[in-house]
């Protein structure tokens, strides 16, 4: 009875009906994935479809089905060879890709010509916490992957307990916004330790911008379209005329007095000084019909950043988490870091892409772009590199470099505004499943060919039609 039941389950799993069902389900799921990719992004499609737990489960059921189908044909005959090779090939290919997914490394490196790097950036978001006690150097306290669903905000906060030697410090991730807009507000600092901040509006028929602007120690600079805004501590030097449209705001010796304004137009040879600003008074800039006015000024203020979730793509959108360490909250943008002071300890939190040390230094000596004759259309590009202090090697499209267990490929490049290469983008890859996948793939192709062309079963139709063939 039991064996009978088991046998029926086996026959069911081995059946072609199940196979057809799985094949069609795969097709439908994958089609959904491509639509997700087109609508959102490749990353979201990969996370929600291609690498989802459902897809993994379906593939394992597929493997079970293939195996059962193979064993259901026992005892195997000669005409089963093609069928067996193909189906075994699929299993091997899938196992190979599981290995790649688990053990493989697939990352990228951005190197500027003349500099070097030994870290590969992996597309995984990490939360790292470092701690320094009483001025000692930083210690890594915590490092964990945050693998959130990029389609939605976090429903339940995630809790970690961190610390060394039995310490118990609470670390929570309270919120996660896959896309968020950033608002910076200036809060007045009564102690006078803050920096001057003004809230301005730039108004014109082409665009209107309204924002807080802070003067920082580094001489804050911001980019709005083609124009650059700079908030200086002193009047800009008339001899130093920038070569792009620039707007200067500058304070004098007395920070509590309203700052003054100066502009440089496109291609202008000199700075035009427009005098001290007055609250609410619009000043024409001479850039098309743009006007500039200030509606608030704080001589001493601190920037306070807050984020609100967005449900659509925007040019300036940030991926952010709200972390809480020992009761203190902190917003972190992806790729940024922040500090929390607690008693003697200073915590340094970092929300960033994972980086892996490849064990050798990769020096980019030169990056060359070749163009199609008489055009600015690239024909080829290549990086001249030195890996681990060895000989100079050229990496280009279709010509990767193998070094230690890694393969380094030319992926793309980034240019500055005048079209000169700023970074060479290389992908770095380690794939222990490669040869397993390749052998599986080869088996599939050979198997299909032998199945279709050497199978006696179909020769009946063929012979009959061949005999019938008339001219």
């Amino acid at each position: 009875m039991f064996w009978n039941f088991l046998y029926r389950v086996f026959r069911f799993l081995a059946s072609l009906e199940v196979a057809v069902f799985i094949i069609l389900s795969l097709a439908v799921i994958l089609a959904t994935g491509t639509i997700y990719e087109s609508k959102y992004s490749a990353e979201i499609a990969s996370k929600l479809v291609y690498r989802s737990i459902w897809m993994q489960m379906l593939l394992w059921i597929f493997i079970v089905n293939l195996t059962a189908a193979a064993f259901s044909r026992l005892p195997w005959r000669k005409h089963h060879v093609g069928f067996l090779i193909t189906h075994l090939g699929i299993i091997i290919l899938l196992l190979g890709s599981f290995i790649t997914q688990r053990k493989g490394i697939d990352g990228s490196m951005m190197i500027a010509p003349g500099s070097s790097s030994r870290f590969v950036r992996i597309n995984e978001n990490m939360l790292n916490v470092f701690r320094a006690v009483k001025g000692k150097s930083y210690d890594l306290l915590f490092s964990e992957r945050l693998d959130f669903n990029p389609m939605e905000q976090l429903k339940d906060p995630v809790h970690f307990t961190i610390g060394k030697d039995g310490e118990k410090i609470g670390l929570d991730v309270l919120s996660y916004y896959p896309k968020a807009s950033r608002t910076v507000l200036a809060t007045a600092d009564a102690s006078g330790k803050g920096v001057p901040a003004l809230h301005f509006t730039l108004r014109g028929s082409r665009a209107t911008i309204s924002d807080w602007f802070f003067q920082s120690d580094l001489g804050n600079t911001r980019q709005y379209g083609p124009a650059e805004f700079r908030f200086l501590k002193a009047k800009p030097d008339p001899k130093m005329v920038p070569d792009r449209p620039t707007l200067f705001v500058y304070t004098g010796a007395d920070k509590s007095a309203m700052p003054s304004l100066a502009v440089v137009g496109r291609g202008a040879k000199e700075i035009r000084y427009l005098g001290q600003l007055t609250l609410g008074k619009a000043i024409p800039l001479g850039w098309m019909d743009f006007e500039f006015f200030v509606d608030e000024y704080k001589p001493s203020a601190n920037p306070q950043v807050s984020y609100s979730p967005l449900d659509h793509s925007a040019p300036e959108s940030y991926e952010v988490i709200l972390a809480q360490l020992d009761g203190e909250k902190l917003w972190l943008e992806l790729g940024a870091s922040g500090q929390i002071a607690r008693g003697d300890s200073l915590y340094y939190l970092q929300y960033t892409k994972k980086e892996i040390d490849i064990g050798f230094e990769l020096l980019l000596k030169k990056f060359v772009i070749g163009y199609y004759q008489g055009t600015t259309r690239p024909q080829s590009y290549s990086s001249l590199v030195q890996a681990g202090g060895g000989v100079d090697t050229e990496i280009s499209m279709n010509h990767p470099l193998k070094q230690n267990d890694f393969t380094i490929y030319q992926s793309s490049y980034e240019t500055d505004e005048s079209g000169n290469p700023r970074y060479s983008v290389l992908s770095v890859n380690q794939d222990p499943g490669r040869w397993i996948k390749y052998s599986g793939a080869l088996m599939i192709v050979l198997g299909i060919i032998s199945m279709f062309y050497f199978k006696p079963k179909y020769s009946g139709d063929h012979k009959m039609l061949k005999k019938e063939a008339r001219v």
């Binding site: 094949i23 097709a27 491509t34 199609y372 008489g374 259309r377 992908s427 008339r470």
Partner: protein, 554 residues
């Protein structure tokens, strides 16, 4: 020297007085009088090509077709170059996107506009500003902005043509070449050459046919001067002549005309036992096939790579592949219908490729850096597209099977469903092997080229989905889950997956799902085709089922 100057001035003074108001209405050159100009080497779009090709591409861009109002493109481009003022008022700039025309304040019903009209539209500059911002942010462009981008390209080309910048006709000296490989345009000529060229311009615009007939001589003289600047950079005359011949001969157009004849003759051969009819039909098949082979060989020689780098080339290639497999199967089984099916599909593809130059660009353009590996490009892309070709053949055979049910209401003696299903199955077998191998080879290339065997890129994913569709069909057939009719219907339906992988990924997913309503790049046509095929399959299935029930009752 002074003589030339004098002559040029004389000729020019005549021209400026009597310039024709509409250049399209005067007498035109005979093609033989334009041979030297047509063969003149021009650097454009990343390679050196005959002026003829340059002119064809230019007119295609500006007017949507090479022969605008039936005139020779070489002459049209020369006329725009030499008589720019007059052309400002001629309606020849093609804009077809209706909302864009509305926004620019242009007449929606017209298809062609004068440069004056377009350039004076108030909204033009702000719109270009928006387009520029989108391009800087690397946003996907919707059909509206694609149309605007095309208009931008048209206006830029026109400006560059009129200023002479686009006409790069003199190779750089060796010294210049070491700095830049750009050829010198008309705007960079030295005084001597400028004068020589004015002679060409003056003879071109002259009213007197006798003077005009000497234009080619002046071109030849100018050509000799240009070659002397740097003979090593000059292409062989035979290469230029080959490309000129290729553009003129329209081999692929002749191929579909011959194939169309072949369809009629072979259809007659189904009902006739006369061997001569069959063999003459197959003869036409062979001629069409050979014309395509010659076409591909020449195209490869010109481009220096296999002809599968854009939609235009792949459409030609898939049609050709269908004919290749059709020929093999026909020669084995001699059922006529396979050859007819292959011809029908091939005519379809060739007619499409020949007639929608607005969407499919027939020009030979440089490749993206990653594709510049002839070995991989050849084996990977050719394998996949030949797979598509085999599936196309099965789709046509499927449609023939369903068609006879719809038309006759039953299967005919000549075209038994079981036979058709078997032929379609043969084609599917070939397709499955090629698509599986091609997709895997693509993985191997991707792995070799940037270290990723499989990256779930939409193109490769859809190739896999298409393959899965056929695998489901083949397994269902093996188990007896589908009848002969069901298999043919499956071939028709599964081909929609191929269409998505082949066309949809680039034209539908590529532009994103943000484009509403407006068809661009034939999306509307393909969507219509898809729905018609669905309805056709459903209707045929309904008829088939009713038939069988009636048989049972009887």
């Amino acid at each position: 020297m002074r003589k030339i100057l004098l002559l040029a001035l004389c000729l020019f003074s005549v021209v400026s007085e009597a310039a024709p108001s509409d250049p399209l209405k005067r007498d035109w050159f005979k093609p033989a009088e334009l041979k030297e100009v047509s063969l003149y080497a021009i650097q454009s779009g990343g390679r050196v090509k005959p002026f003829d090709t340059f002119a064809r591409e230019g007119m295609s861009l500006l007017t949507g077709k090479e022969y605008f109002q039936g005139k020779n493109p070489v002459e049209l481009v020369l006329s725009i170059l030499f008589e720019a003022q007059v052309w400002q008022k001629v309606e020849f700039i093609q804009i077809s996107h209706i909302p864009l025309k509305k926004d620019l304040g242009l007449d929606e019903k017209k298809l062609f506009f004068t440069p004056d009209e377009v350039e004076h539209s108030v909204r033009l500059m702000p719109l270009f500003g928006e387009l520029d911002a989108k391009q800087r942010n690397q946003e996907k462009l919707n059909p509206y902005f694609q149309a605007l981008q095309r208009l931008g390209n048209q206006l830029t080309f026109l400006q560059d043509l009129v200023s002479g910048r686009a006409v790069r006709l003199v190779p750089p000296t060796q010294e210049q070449y070491n700095k830049s490989d750009a050829w010198m345009g008309l705007d960079q000529l030295n005084e001597d050459m400028k004068l020589r060229f004015m002679l060409v311009a003056a003879t071109f615009s002259n009213e007197n046919p006798l003077i005009r007939s000497h234009m080619d001589e002046h071109v030849k003289k100018f050509h000799d001067l240009a070659v002397a600047v740097n003979p090593s950079l000059y292409p062989n005359r035979s290469d230029l002549e080959l490309e000129f011949f290729f553009s003129k001969a329209h081999l692929f157009r002749w191929a579909w005309i011959v194939a169309l004849l072949g369809i009629f003759v072979l259809s007659a051969a189904i009902w006739s036992e006369d061997k001569k009819i069959y063999w003459s039909g197959m003869g036409l098949y062979a001629v069409s096939f050979t014309l395509q082979i010659v076409g591909f060989v020449i195209r490869c020689l010109i481009a220096g790579r296999p002809p599968v780098s854009n939609m235009y080339e792949s459409i030609l290639w898939v049609g050709f592949g269908a004919m290749l497999f059709g020929l093999v199967l026909e020669l084995i089984y001699r059922k006529r219908i396979i050859a007819i099916g292959a011809l029908v599909f091939c005519v379809l593809t060739l007619v499409i490729a020949d007639n929608i130059s607005g969407i499919l660009d027939a020009g030979i353009h440089p490749l993206e850096p990653v594709l510049r590996s002839n070995l991989w490009l050849t084996i990977h892309v050719l394998t996949i597209t030949l797979g598509y070709a085999a599936f196309s053949l099965s789709m046509i055979i499927g449609n023939i099977g369903l068609g006879q049910i719809v038309v006759l209401g039953r299967e005919s003696e000549k075209l038994r469903m079981s036979n058709l299903a078997f032929f379609a199955y043969r084609a599917v077998q070939v397709g499955v092997v090629l698509l599986a191998a091609g997709t895997i080879l693509g993985g191997v290339w991707a792995d070799y080229s940037w270290g990723r065997f499989w990256g779930w890129d939409p193109k490769e994913t859809w190739a896999l989905i298409a393959l899965l569709g056929y695998l489901a069909l083949v397994h269902a057939r093996f188990r007896g889950m589908v009848s002969h009719f069901g298999f043919l219907a499956g071939c028709v339906t599964a081909f929609l997956g191929v269409l998505m992988a082949w066309y949809g990924v680039n034209f539908v997913l590529g532009v994103g799902l943000h484009s509403y309503g407006f068809s661009s790049g034939g999306v509307g046509v393909v969507a219509t085709y898809t729905s018609i095929q669905f309805l056709f399959v459903l209707y045929a299935a309904w008829l088939w089922k009713r038939n069988r029930q009636q048989k049972k009752v009887a």
